[in-house]
Symmetry: C2
């Protein structure tokens, strides 16, 4: 069986094919700017789903805030270990950033049970108790995304930016509509689609632009 | 902000909504059997993408082989740490199964460099060198999927079943077409779509059915 075995060759070729398909299915489609192009194309690269041309929304200062926070050693908090797994840790480490996911933390499980909230929500409370600049990356749990927005409103949390791409049928679309209306800097996917893989792809696209 | 915070309630409600949407967009759609229904619905649950109604293909004996292997303490080999992260380890452990991903293994990196192959391919070689029954779960790397099929043909590897859902634009669709034509038991997604999240969802659907 003959197939391309060089990873960097595969990646370059993939992005060429993606542009070719965009030219075909959406002639004249224009990205707002170079970084938005990179983010959306990486979302398509990760999902093979061209709907991200339409549903990915990036607030005006989101990328600047993300880049500034990442250059300043912010901590990245994810709602799943899957999202954490997919994010380029080598790049983060080189920038002096940490990445954490508290969802499987024993203390968090205990708090969630006591307070009758999801573990994802309790994980946000734990993140909020830590020092330093924060980026939240939510690919799974609408409850966690709501919790970040609630704590921000209550003055208990001040994230630099939120990657808000929970996937699903209960609360996911609604949570992202809330995020779009909020005063947070965000990258989000409208509607039901999203996921941990998408969340990781978005963070990586920003990391690779630095 | 009001939203459902009970995880099991969210899951039950999600699957009701998924069935409702299927009734609406595909009236009269019939799943082949109960386990196929569970697998496809969990794929939709994970991606919010109803295309999986059409593109997910399950070979006749795939589920039986998967269940038998899992009940016999097989080892699950994934091509990414993301897929590994998403698979229910508590369930696997209860069945006496191990799960491994060698892609970030130092020895594998060395072999890949020497043999000029991808790390994913070298990871398959390492898996093949181990004893015991094997399930391969490929959500990312067509090269790894080809490698499993090659080694099977050469008599160097005898997987019980292959979850073959690499996503992407270079080799992904082709690798899955090969898998469909092969004599392996498979669960695959036709075309470009797939991913580590999907791979994990499929394994979990089978695990939850045991």
């Amino acid at each position: 069986m003959k197939y391309i075995k060089n990873p960097s060759e595969i990646e370059v070729k993939s992005f060429e094919i993606i542009q070719g398909i965009i030219d075909e299915i959406r002639p004249g489609y224009e990205f707002k700017n170079e970084i938005e192009e990179k983010i959306i194309k990486r979302c398509i690269h990760t999902t093979a789903d061209f709907e991200y041309l339409d549903i990915l929304k990036i607030s005006d200062r989101a990328v600047d805030k993300l880049v500034d926070a990442l250059k300043s050693g912010a901590t990245v908090y994810t709602d799943t270990n899957m999202a954490l797994s997919g994010i380029n840790k080598r790049k983060l480490k080189a920038l002096g950033c940490e990445i954490k996911c508290f969802v499987a933390d024993e203390e968090v499980a205990k708090i969630a049970k006591e307070k009758k909230m999801t573990r994802s929500m309790a994980a946000v409370e734990k993140a909020a108790s830590e020092e330093g600049r924060k980026i939240f990356v939510m690919g799974n749990a609408p409850t966690a995304l709501y919790k970040v927005m609630e704590m921000k409103k209550e003055g208990k949390l001040n994230p630099d930016a939120i990657i808000g791409v929970p996937v699903g049928f209960v609360g996911a679309a609604e949570s992202k509509d809330e995020l779009e209306k909020s005063d947070n800097e965000y990258i989000l996917a409208k509607g039901r689609k999203g996921g941990s893989n998408l969340a990781a792809a978005i963070v990586n696209a920003v990391l690779y632009s630095i």
